[in-house]
């Protein structure tokens, strides 16, 4: 898998000097964070590719299945598994997480690289659901929001995508520029939940 945290590129040019552009991750320097029974970490999930089928949705679904071995997720669901996952990402849109998109996908709709547009965090621990209940207006009870369910909603004031990866594990995406605010908001909620002991 692509490790964007450590990746850097260097080139040689005709004039002979080396220029390096060092990559930074959205949460660089702010995570991980553990307060009480909740832990927040940055996830490096590889490529993020927006898939929006145009015309026949089935064609995109078939191509995805063939190239990456997973179905195109229905609304509020995800497919695949760790390392190669596809989550529903809004009206007519899915997010391929992990592999670089296969060339065959481009024939069936818009395929847009948004690897750097989102910050991806993992909130886990026995207090994770209580922490999210402080910030997310949607119903995340485990009876309603099961493993593999994936919704678009809000984290306090921010547009977000939330996927349940396990009984006490949630993957949260917000825009890259708001990574700091996500940490701020979650940190406050984690502290408040932890204070109840």
């Amino acid at each position: 898998m692509l490790k964007c945290a450590t990746q850097s590129l260097s080139i040689k040019k005709g004039s002979g000097y080396v220029v390096e552009l060092k990559a930074k991750t959205p949460f660089e320097g702010t995570l991980p964070l553990t307060i009480g029974q909740a832990k927040l970490t940055e996830l490096d999930v590889g490529h993020l590719t927006s898939l929006s089928p145009l015309g026949d949705e089935k064609a995109m679904a078939t191509a995805l299945e063939k190239a990456h071995g997973m179905a195109l997720p229905k609304p509020n669901r995800s497919t695949g598994k760790e390392g190669a996952r596809c989550i529903w990402f809004g009206r007519g849109e899915a997010l391929l997480m992990g592999p670089a998109p296969d060339a065959s996908l481009y024939k069936h709709g818009a395929v847009v690289d948004i690897s750097d547009a989102w910050s991806v965090a993992l909130l886990e621990g026995p207090a994770a659901d209580d922490v999210l209940a402080r910030l997310v207006p949607a119903d995340l009870r485990d009876s309603q929001f099961k493993r593999g369910h994936s919704i678009r909603t809000q984290v306090f004031h921010m547009a977000a995508s939330i996927t349940r990866l396990g009984p006490e594990k949630f993957m949260i995406l917000v825009f890259r520029s708001m990574a700091g605010t996500l940490v701020h908001d979650l940190k406050a909620a984690m502290a408040a939940v932890a204070s109840r002991g």
């Binding site: 609304p75 509020n76 809004g90 009206r91 207006p137 949607a138 119903d139 919704i151 678009r152 909603t153 809000q154 547009a159």
Partner: protein
């Protein structure tokens, strides 16, 4: 208040952006004349009772919705995808 998004399910009202009357779906032809355009852009009913609004599920899936609701009881009777409603109009 909650709105049952046909795609996302029942959601808190804060995920939605309110636009106004669903009249906006019925855009007149460029040559429809002054009265039609005036009506489309400016004139709105203010019913005590059933009304049809456009809401945008901005904090969710991004769908525009036609919400049929009662301004007196605040009951929401029906929520449809605006694209379906528009599709059925033509």
């Amino acid at each position: 208040m909650r709105i049952e998004c046909p795609i996302c399910g029942s959601r808190d009202r804060r995920e939605f952006y309110y636009q106004g009357a669903a009249v906006a779906l019925d855009r007149p032809a460029p040559d429809a004349g002054e009265a039609a355009w005036d009506s489309y852009v400016h004139l709105r009913e203010n019913p005590a009772g059933e009304t049809r609004d456009l809401w945008h599920h901005e904090g969710g899936c991004g769908s525009w919705l036609v919400v049929t609701r009662d301004t007196v009881t605040h009951a929401v009777h029906k929520v449809e995808l605006a694209s379906d409603v528009k599709g059925a109009m033509s």
